[in-house]
Amino acid sequence: MRRLVSLLALCAITACGRGAHDSPDAFRWEAELEPGTTIHLRTGSGRIDVIPGSSRLARVSGATHWVGRNDPIRFAWKRDGDEVYLCALRSTRADCDEGSNSFRDDHSWLDIFSLFKHRSTDAAASFHVELPAAVKVDAATMNGPISLAGVTGGIDARTVNGPINISHVAGPIEAKATNGAIVAVVDSLGEDDPVVLEGVNGSMTAVLPADLEANVQLTTVNGGIRSDFAVTTEGELSRHRLRGQIGSSSREIVLKTVNGNVSLLSPSGEQTPEQPPRPPAPRQPPAPRPRS
């Protein structure tokens, strides 16, 4: 009897019976997107994955995952000229547009009388996108990783908790992760395309074309700095910051974190000195040798 009571109590505490639910096809959207279009992806909690498509047709699928009761997550989209917004919204009052906030819940002062309303949930909504070439991605989530592959129109990616993985892309790149590493492998950059990777807790790694020319700023507070590219600098050389020039371009390369390493790498993984190192010089005759 005691065992049964204990089990029931444990069940009440751990919310057993609140099973995990997945809805992998909660949302589908597709449309032809011309080069120069920007697709904005917004979710409060959940991952965002973008892979290259094979045509001008963009295919977006949304999936939800929750434990216990089903939160009122709804998907919405809006097209405004060259801007396409796709959002996973937890608020019935929220709009899906430039100012949308996917993280806002439907709270009111009456929630204090509710036994259920103000509970946090485990609900998450994820996006999976097949993207045409030359379309820019603007992806934002609060809790979840972002993976962007083959994007050639430019990238703006932000997450609070989760890593950002960018691979084989082109165009300007800006990525920010508060708690998570960022890795960007860039195949090509336009003449002035910047690459900005910023974080707080996590390493920043950029693999950039071997013929890179840029103005670089590599910063970390607790971590190491590595550059496969020869960076020319002057003034104070800090162990936490390297500002300098690669070649003559004014393109900005910024890799910045607080806790983590900062690495600016070439595709071959080899350092690119301006000249091969010269052989050691012959030794000098011994200097005076005080021995007391």
Binding site: S227, R278, A281, P288, R291
Partner: protein
């Protein structure tokens, strides 16, 4: 009250005792004057005391030494002059504290000098083109007015070495190092080092070199554009200046490392 009076009385008795010997000075305890051709060395080796090098108006090297002491016998320190090199045209002058001291153009070993408070200060005037090599153990080294190569070392004291030509090499252990040089032709490696103190090397004009800058507790600064790559070691920085070339090492443990452009 009584105790305080006694303490004051005992201090005054000790203060007036012969144990607190007066510092005595013997100017010109040693002088040497001679011709050292341009491109040859004048070397001065010392143990306790500073060395100051200045420019000479004439064509002779002029060396004077001043002794200072309190209790030890000033005659315990003597001076030797050796000539060496092709045609004996290079000169080394040594302050010798005991008979076991080894001193020649290659180095200086005073062999365990104890309880000797004799201090020798050298003043060296050098004509244009003469190379200067000066070393001491306890005392500062200052070279100003040299026009050719300079080697300046000490253990306890600062080193400040300036040449309108060069190259200059300078080192100490406890003290800062400041080396300034003009233009010079060879591409020999250069070393500037200390353990406790800042290391500053100043060069004139453009510089093609591969530099190694080391400090454990301090900062790096360069007036020259420096090209770095690879992993940035927070304590040891390798960089290329211009097209690269001679190796220049600036190292300390506690202090900053500075590479400055003159003018």
């Amino acid at each position: 009250m009584r105790r305080s009076v006694l303490a004051l009385l005992s201090i005054s008795v000790f203060g007036a005792s012969p144990l607190a010997a007066q510092r005595q000075t013997e100017p010109n305890a040693f002088t040497w004057s001679g011709r050292v051709p341009s491109g040859h060395w004048i070397r001065v080796r010392n143990l306790s005391g500073e060395i100051n090098v200045i420019a000479s108006n004439g064509d002779r090297v002029e060396v004077t030494a001043t002794k200072q002491w309190r209790r030890s016998d000033p005659e315990s320190v003597r001076f030797e002059v050796h000539k060496y090199g092709a045609n004996d045209e290079d000169v080394v002058i040594c302050a010798i504290w005991n008979d076991r001291t080894d001193c020649d153009e290659r180095g200086y070993d005073p062999h365990n000098v104890r309880n000797n408070d004799v201090n020798v200060s050298f003043r060296v005037a050098v004509p244009r083109g003469v190379k200067v090599g000066v070393s001491t153990v306890n005392g500062a080294v200052s070279v100003d007015g040299a026009t050719s190569e300079v080697e300046a070392t000490t253990v306890n004291g600062e080193v400040e070495a300036t040449s309108s030509g060069g190259p200059v090499n300078a080192s100490t252990v406890n003290g800062s190092v400041t080396a300034r040089m003009g233009r010079f032709d060879n591409d020999e490696d250069l070393n500037f080092s200390t353990v406790n103190g800042t290391v500053t090397a100043e060069f004139t004009g453009d510089l093609d070199a591969d530099v190694e800058l080391s400090t454990v507790n301090g900062r790096f600064h360069t007036d020259y554009e420096a090209t770095v790559n690879g992993r940035l070691d927070p304590r040891h920085l390798r960089a290329r200046l211009g097209r690269g070339g001679r190796r220049i090492r600036l190292s300390t443990v506690n202090g900053n490392v500075e590479l400055r452009r003159r003018g």
